[in-house]
Symmetry: C2
Subunit: 364 residues, 2 copies
């Protein structure tokens, strides 16, 4: 925190808080990157300077996630909602079927969009459990010939996270990992495609990361827009069209910051400490309530409810006075939601816990 | 120019130079927008603060371009190359035909992409004139039942610009105006759709502006991704998915800057002065050469050729020593290309003219 700038504790679900050193570096370089007399935003994406930025960004991501060589990294646009169409446009042949696991709000968005492109088999659903858990694989009913199996590995609104990777055999596993990718190590080799909107742990909104296994390239339907054909973009190094250059630069700074923190194993330890502190406070007294099964509770998005909805506004107002902001739950579910992505320090979580205790003393 | 920062004269075709006051304001606010203790990048796109930014950005654009009420403004992602698919996905029914005018490199990209979605009739082409002019409408061969007519109103590589608007009767006119939108007043009411990648006169790469007449909404094909269905995004105020929030903010700052310059009539006068100075120098001696018909010469992108390709490298090296950068012509055509968008001051053009004269004295 600089002397000049008062920063808040920002619990936004996304676009989310970014690491302060990343923003400080971007600020320092905004009019003049490395003495070039121009902003990164003003560089040709095909010039030597931006090419070096893009290459380092990709190399650092490969290091961080230990991405196997047979996977391509694509930096696209449109967010995860665009990928909900782009995945079937790339992987689902006309007349084909895809398996989807329904874990809540974002899985349902993926399912509805995929239905525009073919048959969707909902192989499992947490509906009967009010979306408070991940359906055990023993209970799935996969189709015989699915082109892929789609999972939403962290439900940002429900606060449900997968801590295991399903075994789909030879059928490619596709994951919308938007809201927890890079929060811990991940065995990329278990997936066919992993996609994520950047605006949680990667960079600013508008950038989309796609990790795709090479053997899945070249299957796109004719009606897939060329800029979203994985094979076209893999061949072009994500520069078939002009990419979101400033977003890639900020992602690169974020990856450098993550490496400086000790990588994904270290950030996982920090994220566990933050989540443990928050869930312990929620469970301590019974005043606050989180409905998610303990083994499936998200470390990134922690929804909780007060005993009476009329307490929501006073809770939020007092929080704001203490510099704790963007805590309001998603309009679909109400209550509170604190998103504690990589950029949120433990100190911010402890400040929230302190306010939760004080509020409970006032209203409990 | 601040005392701390040495800025160059940046002639990049895009991502292009941005107005320095815009970058300075973004820099000042990067960690703390209006005392909120957070960056614009860290705000929920549905919160009151970002909503106010988005509304003001749209209102200022409506003012600048005098956009009629029956047009929707959409802030999307994917650039103009994505729109090359998204336009037919929204406007071309299966089995339909669309008319395209072939004015060069970018028109051809649009044509090739549209052919994935239906029949394309190339109603006119400048091929016989080596793409040095805009085909006169008297020579067009439109189809009887086109769903729309597509034109590329400024060819960034060829340096060919339309200074007239074709009359397509009841058939909607669709324009890729990426590289000259906002460089001068435009009669929006003559168009069905205008689209533009932001990275020339609007904002950073990754943001795409679409201006669409309301009666053209609701025609999208089933296979159009929802995030690119004009009707879906018009209804959602461009927030069906998380938009490129920082790009919208920078576009808003750019629109404020344009209004402060006196609006589009004033910026057109400045752009005429810049283009006149450059073309006058090119035409003065015969040492430099621009092949475009004078009436169709672009005010935004000025390609020129030296008498011998072996002079290209010395010209570029000497230019760089004088802080004149990103002048190399597109790899498709070679030579030089100076892009002199709104953000380029006359002083930058005059500095280039001075170097052109000096170089001619050395090598002429």
């Amino acid at each position: 925190m600089t002397a000049m700038t008062r920063r808040v504790w920002n619990f936004s679900a996304g676009p989310a808080a970014m690491p302060e050193p990343v923003l400080q570096r971007a600020q320092a370089e905004l009019l003049d990157w490395h003495g070039r007399g121009m902003s990164v935003m003003e560089m040709s994406h095909r010039g030597a300077d931006f090419t070096s930025i893009a290459h380092k960004t990709e190399a650092d991501l490969r290091t961080l996630l230990a991405v196997p060589a047979q996977y391509k990294l694509l930096f696209l646009q449109g967010g995860a909602l665009a990928q909900n169409a782009i995945v079937p446009l790339n992987l689902l042949p006309a007349g084909g079927v895809a398996d989807y696991v329904d874990t809540g709000h974002w899985a349902q968005k993926s399912i509805a969009e995929a239905r525009k492109y073919g048959e969707v088999n909902v192989a499992a659903s947490a509906a009967d459990a009010q979306y408070t858990c991940v359906p055990a694989q023993a209970d799935w009913r996969p189709s015989a010939s699915a082109s892929y199996v789609h999972v939403t590995t962290n439900e940002t609104i429900g606060g449900v996270e997968w801590f295991w990777i399903p075994d789909t055999g030879a059928t490619p596993l596709v994951a919308d990992a938007s809201s927890h990718l890079l929060s811990r190590p991940l065995d990329v080799s278990r997936f066919g495609v992993i996609y994520a909107g950047a605006q949680k742990n990667i960079g600013p909104a508008g950038l989309t990361l796609v990790i795709v296994r090479e053997d899945l390239l070249g299957r796109a339907r004719r009606e897939c827009p060329s800029v979203f054909d994985y094979a076209v973009q893999a061949k072009a190094g994500s520069m078939y069209n002009t990419p979101a250059t400033f977003g890639i630069y900020l992602a690169g700074l974020t990856f450098e910051w993550l490496i400086a923190q000790g990588g994904l194993a270290a950030i996982e330890r920090a994220n566990i400490a933050k989540a443990d502190a928050l869930y312990a406070e929620i469970d301590r007294s019974g005043f606050y309530r989180n409905p998610v099964r303990r083994s499936d509770r998200s470390r990134m998005n922690v929804p909780f409810f007060l005993p009476d909805d009329r307490l929501n506004e006073p809770f939020l107002a007092g929080a704001a006075q203490r510099g704790l902001v963007q805590l309001k739950g998603h309009r679909a579910v109400g209550g509170m939601r604190d998103s504690i992505y990589n950029a949120m320090p433990l100190a911010g979580v402890l400040a929230l816990v302190e306010w939760m205790r004080e509020f409970e003393r006032q209203h409990g």
